[in-house]
C-alpha cells in the first residue's frame, strides 16, 4: 500500500465519506425546498392554498391599495393587474438608499382544473392581497355513508 494512505486521519474511506456528504448538500441545495420559489417568475409571486370551502390566492403587495388593483376572473384564469406607486417626496430630499421599486404588473394565475369557482372576494390588508374563491357545491368533499347490507 502506498505510504500516503497511512497518513493519520486521511484514509480513502474517510475521503469518500466527505465527498458523499458534500454531494448530499449539493443536491439539497439544488432540488431541496430551499430554492423552490419563483416558479412562475412573474410579479407578484403568489401562494395558492385551500380549505374545504374556499381557494385562496395570496400575494405580497406592500403599499398597494384596492384602487390600484384590477382583478378579473376569466374561465379558469385569474388575472391580476395593477400598479405599485411610490409617491414622490418633496424636492429637498437626498437619498441614502433606494431599494423599493415601483411599476406595473400583470399576471395570470391558472386555477386548479377543478377550480370552477362560485364567488370571488378580494381584500388588501397590511400589504397582503387575499383573494378568496368559494368552491361550488358539487366539488366540495362529500361524505359517503356505507350502508350495512
Amino acid at each position: 500500500m502506498p505510504i500516503f494512505f497511512r497518513e493519520p486521519g486521511r484514509t480513502p474511506l474517510r475521503e469518500l465519506e466527505q465527498l458523499q456528504r458534500r454531494m448530499d448538500r449539493l443536491f439539497q441545495n439544488t432540488f431541496g425546498t430551499e430554492q423552490f420559489p419563483w416558479r412562475a417568475g412573474v410579479y407578484p409571486l403568489v401562494n395558492l392554498s385551500e380549505d374545504k370551502d374556499n381557494l385562496y390566492i395570496r400575494a405580497e403587495l406592500p403599499g398597494v391599495t384596492a384602487e390600484d388593483l384590477e382583478i378579473t376572473l376569466q374561465d379558469n384564469n385569474l388575472i391580476l393587474r395593477g400598479e405599485r406607486k411610490i409617491p414622490a417626496e418633496e424636492n429637498q430630499v437626498n437619498y441614502h438608499r433606494r431599494e423599493r421599486e415601483s411599476g406595473f404588473f400583470r399576471r395570470i394565475v391558472a386555477l386548479p382544473a377543478q377550480g370552477r369557482v362560485d364567488k370571488v372576494a378580494a381584500t388588501c390588508k397590511d400589504g397582503i392581497l387575499t383573494i378568496t374563491m368559494t368552491k361550488p357545491e358539487e366539488t366540495k368533499p362529500r361524505k359517503i355513508e356505507v350502508k350495512v347490507g
Binding site: L48, V93, H96, E101, G103
Partner: protein
Amino acid sequence: MAEKELQAKVKEEAPAKGERVRPGRVFVPAVDIFETPETLVLVAEMPGVSGDKVTLDLKESHLTIYGEVGPPLGAGETMVDQEYFTGDYQREFHLGSVIDQSKIEATMKDGVLRLVMHKVEKAKPRKIEVKVG
C-alpha cells in the same frame, strides 16, 4: 405613469444572528432612506406586518427594526402551490446623524413602515457669564 414592469424577486433572508426563540425565517425588508434638512426618513416594506407588531429599537445611533408576521395560512388551510415564503422582518442600521429620541414618528400603512426621525439641533454656542464675586 406605468413606466416600468415589476420583476419577481425572492426575498433576501437576514443573516442569522444567534438563535431565535420563534421558529421560522427572517427576511431583510427593502428600504428607502432619505434626509431632509431637519429629518431622516426611513421607509421599509414589510408586507403582512400590522402596526402593533413592529418593534423599533434605537440605542445611541444603532437602529433596529423588527416586524412580526402572523401565520401564513388560516385555520384548516393547506398550501397547494407556494411561490414565496413568509417570515419576520429584521434590519439594523447605524445612523450617521444624531437623532432626537423624543421626536420619532412611526406610521404603518398597507405593510409599509415610515419612520420620521428628527435630527438634534447642533449645539448652539452659549455665552457664559462670569460673575463678579
